[in-house]
Amino acid sequence: MNTVRKIFGVIWMLFAIACAYFLITFGVPKLVSGTQEGVVFGIIILFILMPLTVAGLAVFGYYSVTGEYDENKMADK
């Protein structure tokens, strides 16, 4: 299972990149749309959702790859 977690770690990091791409292509047109709802949506997507999702997933993936979630690391502090 430790190996599976490491493999998934790579997937999460790639997913973080995919999320960044998707959220930027989705959010930027909203931001420049000039409509009230578009600007609000764009701000939330680009400046709140994207940093949290992308950074969080990337770090989570990195921790997975480097074995932080291995069974023998659970009790380390």
Partner: protein, 513 residues
């Protein structure tokens, strides 16, 4: 450490924590439940869709700031104690909710109105961000190992019951006055009512003692001087924060909000069911579904948190689309036979000091008991005569469908099922999060991922899903009404995978004090 647990004292602890959390959820949900009315009152009328989306965004703003509330109050709670911190959150929530009831409408004070509402909504979000982490931590630190899931599940119950009470209060207020009075000033009453509930909860909480685990840590000098740094600047703790967030917390956020708020919005706006019927459906479904929190909390103590959490995620992923397809079919008029001979059409002239409206009402009856009511309002100037079939520019059309009794019970059942999914993902969550983090940083480490996952991911669900549905409808997708579900399904799917692969039994017993 296992604290001695007397049942009578545990009930007092649960009552004090859950009552305050319930009232805070009531305060928060009042805003969401009245989104349509608030949209008309505080945002420009010219574009109803923009106004509605703006309110959803404001609703979202209340959720987006919740993590900051988690940071502020989590830090306070880990440094000075749980009890005093969630007294502050309680009072902050109550005062800001009450003040919303006093804000003049857009027509009176212009753009200051939505700005004030937005500011108060942000304060609500801050308060709620600090409330749940404190309440759940407080109850968990009083309960002994092996019962934590059961006792903390009462806190989760408070969310559904808070929503239920908000709907009941709105329903009673609406039905105790004329529609004109409710539209004019009656809508403020549910906001103003919160001040009494907050006072009661304040009196209850004031008598509580500090959490024994925290009191012990404090007496030993083992509390944290910088819980934020320890939680998020320490690799060991941060990895659990991320695991909690991308695992059970995001899933709970999207599954729970789908079954509660999305279901309600879907019935009101996509299915166009009469709002009174929607409230009835939600109230009955919530009453039937809420007891499952304690059942699944108890079950998680017996079979483990992970299995219960995963069951909720999996069932939601598989069942959401068939459920919503079935819900939509109850109002799909293309599949019903109209009883044309029973149709009723009326017209009347409605005059006030400032407006003259010509109102045409048509009621169509269908073979299964469904009734479609369409109200066409032609806004006239001071001069002019109403004419049947007059296609003037100032026309507004509202539709409402009254479903038959059997269809209503079908909808109740389908919403109830979704609420049960929510209870599966929510009831073990507090115990799971508490057991993941040590006492010294528990409030902080618990609150931030909880409010990010549920506050942001869950809170944005109505806006994102409504957008997906609107987009699909514009593109002519015949199943447009199902497209909003991709957001919760995809996120729950990722969370299920992470929960399955990463969360172990050892992890759920890391910190039992």
């Amino acid at each position: 450490m296992d604290m001695p647990e007397k049942k009578s004292s545990m009930w007092r602890v649960v009552a004090a924590s859950a009552s305050g959390t319930l009232i805070e959820w009531y305060d928060f949900f009042i805003f969401g439940s009245m989104a349509s009315i608030l949209s008309a009152k505080f945002f420009p009328h010219t574009n109803p869709s923009a106004a509605f989306l703006s309110i959803l965004a404001t609703f979202g703003a209340g959720f987006v700031v919740r993590p900051f509330g988690g940071i502020i109050f989590g830090r306070l709670g880990d440094m000075i104690g749980r009890k005093y911190t969630f007294m502050v959150t309680l009072l902050l929530m109550g005062i800001s909710t009450c003040l919303i009831g006093f804000v003049p409408e857009y027509e009176t004070i212009g753009y200051l109105a939505p700005l004030l509402v937005l500011l108060l909504r942000l304060l609500q979000g801050l308060a709620l961000g600090g409330e749940y982490g404190g309440a759940a931590t407080y109850v968990a630190e009083h309960s002994k190992k092996g019962t934590r899931g059961f006792w903390t599940s009462w806190i989760q119950t408070s969310a559904s019951i808070g929503m239920l009470i908000s709907l009941v209060v709105i329903f009673i207020t609406r039905n105790s006055m004329s529609p004109e009075s409710f539209d004019s000033w009656g809508w403020r009453i549910p906001f103003l009512a919160s001040v009494f509930m907050i006072y009661i909860s304040y009196v209850i909480r004031r008598r509580m003692s500090e959490s024994p685990a925290f009191a012990k840590a404090k007496s030993e000098g083992a509390t944290s001087k910088n819980p934020l740094k320890e939680s998020f600047g320490n690799r060991y703790n941060l990895k659990f924060v991320l695991l909690a967030l991308f695992g059970p917390v995001i899933a709970q956020g999207v599954v729970w909000y789908t079954g509660h708020f999305y279901a309600m919005n879907f019935m009101e706006n996509t299915m166009v069911v009469d709002s009174g019927q929607v409230i009835t459906i939600m109230v009955v479904a919530l009453l039937l579904g809420s007891p499952f929190y304690t059942l699944f909390g108890w079950l998680s103590d017996k079979i483990g948190r992970k299995l219960v959490l995963m069951a909720g995620m999996l069932l939601a992923i598989i069942c959401f689309r068939p459920i919503y397809r079935s819900m939509y079919e109850t109002v799909d008029l293309a599949k019903k036979t109209e009883l044309t001979s029973k149709a009723i059409s009326t017209s009347e002239l409605y005059e006030t000091a400032s407006a003259r409206d010509s109102i045409y009402t048509t009621e169509k009856f269908y073979d299964d008991g469904t009734v479609l009511k369409e109200v066409r309002t032609v806004h006239l100037g001071q001069a002019g005569t109403p004419t049947v079939g007059d296609d003037t520019k100032n026309v507004s059309i509202t539709k409402a469908i009254n479903v038959s009794s059997s269809a209503k019970w079908k909808l109740i059942f389908l919403v109830f099922i979704q609420i049960v999914f929510g209870t599966l993902t929510y009831s073990p969550l507090a115990a799971f999060l508490v057991e993941l983090f040590p006492v010294r940083i528990r409030y902080t480490s618990f609150s931030v991922p909880y409010n990010v996952g549920i506050g942001i991911m869950g809170g944005l669900l109505p806006a994102v899903s409504v957008f997906l549905v609107t987009n699909a409808k514009r593109m002519g997708d015949p199943a447009f009404y199902l497209q909003g579900l991709w957001y919760p399904i995809v996120l729950a799917g990722i969370s299920l995978l992470i929960t399955m692969v990463y969360i172990t039994k050892k992890m759920t017993a890391l910190h039992t004090d």
